[in-house]
Amino acid sequence: MVTGGKTWLHCLTTLLLGTMPMVCLAVTEETDTAQTMKDYYLSTVTVTATRTPKTLDSTPVVTRVVTAEDIRKADATNIRDVLLAELPGVEFSYAMNQQLTMSMQGLGGMAVLILVDGERLAGETLDNTDYLRLNMADVERIEIVKGAASALYGSNAVGAVVNIITKSSCNPMDVGMNTRWGSRYGEQRHGGKLGIQKGKVTSLLNVQYDKQNPYHVFNLGDTAGFPVYGNRQWNVKEKLMLHTPSGGQLTARGGYYFHERRSFDDRQRDRARDFSGGLRYTRTVGDEGALELSYTADRYDKSDYYPLTDKDYLDYKNVQHGARGLLRLGLADSLTLTLGGDAMSDFLMTYQFAEGGTHSQLTADAFVQADWLPHPLWDIVAGVRTDWLSHYGSVLTPKLAVLFRTGCWRLRAGYAHGFRAPTLKEMYMDFNMANIFNIYGGGEALKAEKSHSYTLSGEYVKNNFSLTVTGLYNAIRDEITTLWDRSLDGGRGAMRYTNIPGTRLASVEVTGAARFDTGFSGKVSYAFFREFPLPGAVNTADTRPHALTAQVDYKRSWKPGQLTVVLNGRYLSEARFYTLAGSDYESFEPMTSPSYTLWKLLIMQTFGKRVTMTLGVDNLWDYRPRTYLYNSPYTLGRSFSLGLSIDIL
């Protein structure tokens, strides 16, 4: 068991053990030639920060890219596994009723906008996306832009945008299957893919099933365990692309997701389903311009299933239909203009409205962005967007980002305004909380959360090395939360969504990466976080002040095929913060989350070009929390996994 001050020691020891072979085997001759860090920065294209394809080297906004190879090395099933492996400031916790919630350097799930191929997702639980829905089977890369981005993406881009880009191309015939079994928790993951490219048509079908059984965790010295829910997911996605005679590309996509959660008492299971579809047409305009037209539909349901009676009752339905037009024009060699607009309808039926009622709203927006290169060393991107929401009104959000490049150095600075409009749930909730108290929406008096975020970044990339230092300051005001209101329910009191003044969050992230011809590569990210509460307030952000992720991997080709050994881990320091002390919802008490470190070792061996076997050891140091808090890792100790992947065609 790893506790207290030993956490750092284990973290350092693991890192040293992981890097020792790097030194010893650096002289090995039979190795792969790795892409250098410089090549990586020059060849990796991102679209999220400016909605314009730009390389990592040339984008004016700091962007973190998680590649398909990174996802493979994390042995990730869903977005949670990837973010935990890649971003030091990210933590997933269990909120009320063991619902999964994310925090990213002091920001909650609602302040981080998660997109798939640039499209929003319907549905939320306790202000968080269904992260289990976001499986990694068909993902090409994930782009993470920290700081506000509402000038391009509108509501919810208060603190960061995570854009999951799915695969768009394949071999003429791409057929494969994979399976993974875990030694604890009954973990299983099975999947298959079918890709066909013929003439101007490409079809990609991906199916994945994953599950985990319910289990108990026990606090130290306690014999009565807490049950942890089990779950199972089905994910089916189809993407069909057609190159039109006019030179454009038409992409149709459809998806189905099924989730079921159960405990040991199997009288009732929580289910969720998602049905999604979309059409996108893109074509080039002139030499550097592009036109994009898209329609997307997404429906997320939640239901209660009763196995004894085989009844499945719908109690939540969120349906979104959206349309977008985007035009990018190269006006001159040094100026690119991006114009766009969206329209969306948002329908919500939930048991948390009075008598399971419904509410809906319309939103529309228009945005313009100029990308100006006044000098070969400078790139300036400025944009402004106006959003209109039928139940709220209008919001104007500007942004400015500047890149200065010289030699191996890149300096970036940016300001962006972000907002999060109150959701239909936050406005119209009318929910009896188990006959204990009621929770009411704040109505149309609720104001949007707003953020002013400032970023400053320095990046040094030379040959096999890169080092990035990024500072982020985010001032958030009119934060939306629930507060106790004694005047409600005839003086008995009730909860109500309302605005509170907000807070100020600051973080510094340092990421160093290296790649060697010897087959070794490594990456370390350290994040420092601090909350600066407004005068008279206390720090309530439970984000750890120090966090670190690290990965060392080694690739070597030998007779059977390629061997890859990956060691990755994370360290989270102790967090001290304040939490509500009583039902007056005004007094606070201090709370502490203990530090911990978790490490994973993966050994991947390919046999020929088609078969890959993966052996994993998770929680290498056999860590178990003394007390399982809401933000503890719900691990029972070291576990093993075995995976097999076969590319049939």
Binding site: M96, N97, A224, F226, P227, L250, A252, D265, R267, Q268, R273, F275, G277, L279, Y295, A297, R299, D301, S303, D304, Y306, L308, T309, K311, D312, Y313, L314, D315, K317, V319, H321, Y351, G356, N432, A434, N435, I436, F437, R492, G493, L580, G582, S583, D584, Y585
Partner: protein
């Protein structure tokens, strides 16, 4: 293609409702199965007449029971008119019936019954976040009130329902066997504090 595709997507999204079951107002009882008795209010006892199959809700603060009743529910608290009940080792009504028929389970002696006792019940949960609840004095049967175990170590609490069959002594000295089948109401979005059970008369 757009004109063909859009209506299909919209139709599919709307058609998804048909995969779910409709919530239907169920009758309270058919004589043997009681469904979704609303005992969710902390401030009220719900008195049930097993013979007539009706219920009466009465405020805890002004607790005047109806004339004819057999068993009463307050969330997961239970009291009886006769003042006696007990838990059996059997897990189904059929198992109990078989044991009675075979003579392996005989009518409990007077001392075997667990008597209702003067106790207290929670009537105001609004101070839960302050670490205390408001209680009111009331009768309660300790054996029958075990039908749901509420583990308050986490929020929301963890609920575990007993699989056992319970015996209730009625006012006329006859006995009924009860096996609880649910504490949530599927027709009210899974709200807790609703009682469902199967009941059978037992005679020796």
């Amino acid at each position: 293609m757009l004109r063909r595709f859009l209506p299909v997507v919209i139709l599919l999204l709307c058609a998804c409702d048909s995969i779910y079951d409709e919530r239907e107002a169920e009758p309270l009882t058919d004589g043997h199965h009681f469904r979704n008795i609303d005992a969710s209010r902390y401030t009220h006892w719900v008195y049930v007449n097993l013979q007539k199959g009706d219920t009466t809700s009465v405020s805890v603060s002004n607790d005047l029971p109806p004339e004819d009743w057999d068993i009463a529910f307050h969330r997961y608290d239970i009291k009886t008119r006769s003042g006696a009940g007990m838990e059996t080792p059997y897990l189904s009504l059929d198992e109990l019936k078989q044991a009675v028929d075979e003579g392996t389970f005989v009518r409990p002696a007077a001392d075997d019954w667990v008597r209702d006792v003067e106790d207290s019940i929670a009537v105001d949960m609004s101070h839960m976040m302050d670490g205390y609840l408001v209680y009111a004095p009331s009768h309660r049967n300790p054996a029958l009130s075990h039908w749901v175990n509420v583990d308050m170590r986490s929020m929301p609490p963890l609920y575990t329902m007993s699989e056992q069959v319970y015996l209730v002594l009625l006012a006329d000295s006859s006995c009924v066997a009860i096996r609880f089948t649910g504490f949530t109401n599927p027709n009210a979005y899974g709200a807790k504090g609703y009682v469902s059970f199967d009941v059978e008369g037992v005679s020796w």
